[in-house]
């Protein structure tokens, strides 16, 4: 636990220093997306990596946050800082209501149900044209402001997003190493044993599903206010799968792993632009190789690789 907090502090310093290191520029914009995706991956990891429950509908919660914030701040001129928590609460309530029946399902059935949920939400974004603008999207969403500072540049957005991302990471690290986090992992390893020890697995699963949806919704609101334009295409089934890939590639049950997965999957397409036409093939092949040779994800695979190359050094790869 101490080790995690130390690592987190170092990571936070790095995040704070990054704009100086990279001298602003285009990369800042990409790092904003890394931040948003990290938040989403951490949220999904709480559900999948800790509680062992899959969701193929998380892009839907992300989209709901974005659209609720977008609609409230444009059509109804509500202050963005007020719209964000309202959106989060609404999404939390929806997730809680859906969670009770859906989380009774296991394995493939849960995957199918959450997939269906994501698709329904996607269809709603497309079809309720009066509200969402339909497939052509919703524009003119205001930037966030604090005390006269408007978050309208890449560097400002970088700090805004990463403030939230770090908060979500710290929050999740605390949770993982606590009574509730242990109960979640216990349910994952042996639900029946956890129940026998007095853990109410059902309620716990709904709680973490709701929490995960709320974090995704906040990420969605932030996305809407930094992009100022949203359209349904960003919140489709593809993106749910991409989030799942980030969590698995990064390492199930590791908060830092989710960052690594999000960073890799966000940065890789940018680098692969140089080899356009082949980018999608290389991308796919890289993911396959990584899953095959790093079954524990990057967060465990990289230290193992390091030890292999630089000899038998002691150390543990878990974070």
């Amino acid at each position: 636990m101490k080790k995690d907090l130390l690592l987190f502090s170092a990571f936070a310093l790095l995040v704070a220093a990054a704009p100086q290191l990279f001298k602003g520029g285009y990369l800042m914009n990409v790092l904003v997306f890394v931040g948003i995706n990290t938040m989403l991956a951490v949220a999904l990891n709480l559900l999948l990596g800790y509680a062992g429950q899959i969701s193929l509908g998380h892009a839907g919660f992300f989209g709901l946050g974005a659209y609720l914030s977008g609609i409230m701040t444009t059509t109804y001129s509500i202050d963005p800082w007020l719209a964000m928590p309202i959106a989060a609460i609404v999404v939390g309530i929806i997730a809680c209501l859906i969670g009770f029946p859906v989380l009774k399902l296991k394995g493939h059935y849960l995957a199918m149900a959450t997939l269906g949920l994501g698709i329904i939400i996607f269809i709603v974004f497309n079809e309720t044209v009066d509200l969402t603008g339909g497939p052509s999207g919703l524009s003119g969403i205001p930037n966030l402001k604090i005390a006269g500072v408007t978050f309208d540049s890449d560097v400002k957005n970088y700090y805004l997003i990463w403030f939230f991302t770090l908060a979500v990471m710290l929050f999740s690290l605390n949770l993982a190493n606590s009574r509730v986090g242990r109960a979640l992992r216990a349910v994952h390893d042996s639900e029946i044993a956890a129940q026998v020890l007095g853990v109410n697995a059902r309620i716990l699963k709904v709680q973490v599903f709701t929490l995960s949806a709320i974090i995704s919704s906040i990420a969605g609101s932030l996305y809407a206010h930094t992009m100022t334009f949203i359209s349904p295409a960003s919140f489709g089934f593809n993106f749910s799968i991409e989030l799942l890939t980030m969590v698995v590639i990064g390492g199930l049950g590791s908060i830092f792993g989710s960052f690594l997965g999000a960073a890799l999957l966000t940065l890789l397409p940018e680098f692969l632009r140089a080899v356009n036409d082949y980018d999608i093939i290389i991308y796919g092949a890289l993911l396959m190789v990584m899953v095959m040779f790093m079954p524990g994800g990057l967060v465990r695979g990289i230290p193992a690789l390091y030890r292999k190359i630089f000899g038998q050094r002691k150390g543990t790869g878990n974070a």
Binding site: S178, H188, I192
Partner: protein, 251 residues
């Protein structure tokens, strides 16, 4: 302490249990024995709330707990262990026992995530409590090991330590000696007696007759889903029905 009354369980066409009734007194070690297929595991699963019986009632400390889910029974101070130890393999030995203190702690999701002051002091208390149970079962030196890497015998001790962390008044053990060598079985017998000495009622399903006869105060014999006999180890050893049932069974 625990009473089952008229427990019947029918799986499809198979009657696994046929109107089984008995009472277990507080502070006793009670053995449930019987040939394979007698219905012992089924009975345990019903008492611990994992199966829902076709008919019959379970009373815990006089309270009708029929149909209560396991997590509710844990809060009423009943806990069990499993024949094929069910550890949380990805967690450390200490963390496993800390999960056992779940019902004795209250910090919720938000308190934990925001590190509320009371959740920090509670966390300290949970850790100390868990260490106490590791010490009681003699596996303190394994505290930081992954539970999934433990040898079977140590895993068994961990499962018992974890169950004790619930601070139960009654503990059900499903074949605690299965898979243990003779030395480990002796240590287990001593451990079970120490558990009883803490005023915890012990019920165990067991195939190791030597162990059963050594530690049990009372024995319930099941055969083909029916209660065949009940009594002290001495009475059971001398019971003609029990002898006949065991001789008729080539197990």
């Amino acid at each position: 302490m625990l009473e089952v009354s008229g427990i019947t369980q029918i799986f499809g066409g198979v009657t696994a249990l046929d109107s089984v009734s008995f009472k277990i007194a507080k502070g006793d070690i009670t053995g449930v024995i019987g040939p394979n297929g007698a219905g012992k595991t089924t009975l345990f699963n019903i008492i611990s709330g994992i199966y829902h019986q076709t008919a019959g009632t379970v009373y815990l400390e006089g309270k009708d707990v029929t149909g209560f889910p396991p997590e509710r029974l844990a809060r009423l101070s009943m806990v069990r262990t499993f024949q094929n130890i069910e550890l949380f393999g990805g967690m450390t030995v200490l963390e496993n026992v800390m999960v056992g203190m779940h019902t004795k702690s209250t910090s919720g999701l938000l308190a934990c995530s925001f590190k509320a002051p009371w959740s920090i002091s509670e966390e300290r208390r949970i850790r100390q409590g868990a260490l106490k149970w590791l010490d009681f079962t003699g596996i303190t030196d394994l505290a930081d090991q992954k539970a999934g890497n433990l040898p079977f015998g140590k895993g068994r001790l961990l499962e018992i330590a974890r169950a004790l962390a619930v601070e139960p008044r009654i503990i059900l053990m499903d074949e605690p000696a299965a898979g243990l060598n003779s030395q480990e079985t002796l240590a287990l017998a001593a451990l079970i007696k120490r558990i009883r000495d803490m005023d915890i009622t012990v019920v165990l399903v067991e195939h190791d007759m030597e162990l059963v006869m050594d530690i049990c105060d009372r024995i319930v014999v099941l055969n083909l889903g029916k209660k065949l006999a009940e009594g002290t180890p001495q009475q059971i050893q001398e019971s003609p029905e029990v002898i006949a049932a065991y001789l008729g069974d080539d197990d």
